[in-house]
Symmetry: C2
Subunit: 188 residues, 2 copies
């Protein structure tokens, strides 16, 4: 499946999606971090076509999230284990799990995260490691980093200083927003 | 673009991906949460084909992450604002940002999250809201929830009790792992 490459976009979200931003890749990582390692285990779990699974496994090895280990020479058989980079992907899956449980599980949670000792259900929230404070606006802000290029800096420079326009508009619908530089036009 | 539907999978990660698990959808949500609202703003930001953008915006409205607001009747023009559900998606983007900055920004961060008052860079980490403890194994575990079906329960029942097989194998490569119920076979 071809798509426009995000690899050269500076945005760290786009770069992550370039490597794992495909339905199957995220579910393969979910299964790999769960402990599945072998081709047929992934296939049984996902019901994915073998050629698609092979392609996604190769891409995840190439992106450095999985490592291939040959466990049988005759016949040749490989297994796939998460690397440190692959294990670092777990917070994305936890965030997706929490989001799915909150919004798309009307019948209750099918999978949940609990304290392994007490069994008490955890509520995942993203905080700043040093201060422990929840990362949310307006206490925290997204800003251009040291390696930001001109386009990223301009993008952030044009942004209203506090919160988003949309949030501001919801808070006060009387706010009159200026048109964007290019006249808005709904194309479809 | 057609793909196998994840909607009927019980896994909350799969269900989230069904709604937003597409490269463009996540970047549209990134831009919408940044404050962009209008069709041409998204198009300028993303360099996406208009028909694809229209399709993804419609899907995000249908999934309840964006709301459409008509701001001009003649000519008809809509803008798109994040709903509460859309705002709840932000932790997924923060986790992707942190992952991308850690692993795919060799030249340094292009975008980063800072304390809005002090400008000190934040380090996003997922914790349990009540206890403040980082959600990681083996302190926390993924378990079947109250709505788990038979397949999910079996899946977790077969799992080794602590950690993943892959993690165990890395910690002690002498561990001999049993074959999976279906004889492993690399299909491609």
């Amino acid at each position: 499946m071809q798509h426009k490459s995000f690899r050269n976009m500076p945005c760290p979200i786009a770069r992550s999606l370039e490597r794992v931003g495909e339905w199957w890749s995220m579910l393969i990582m979910r299964d790999a971090l769960f402990g599945l390692t072998r081709f047929d285990e992934f296939q049984n779990s996902l019901g994915i076509a073998p050629n698609m699974l092979a392609r996604r496994l190769n891409a995840l090895v190439e992106a450095g999230l999985l490592e291939r280990h040959r466990y049988s020479a005759h016949p040749p058989r490989d297994e796939y284990r998460p690397t440190q980079r692959g294990r670092d992907f777990r917070p994305v899956l936890i965030a997706l799990l929490a989001f799915g449980n909150r919004h798309f599980a009307p019948e209750g949670a099918s999978v949940t995260i609990v304290d392994a000792q007490t069994g008490v259900e955890a509520e995942p929230v993203i905080v700043d490691r040093a201060s422990g404070r929840p990362i949310r606006e307006p206490e925290f802000a997204w800003v251009p980093g040291p390696a930001a290029g001109e386009r990223t800096r301009q993008r952030y420079a044009r942004r209203p200083p506090s919160g988003t326009r949309a949030a501001a508009a919801q808070a006060d619908p009387r706010i009159i927003r200026k048109g964007s530089p290019n006249e808005p036009r709904r194309k479809a």
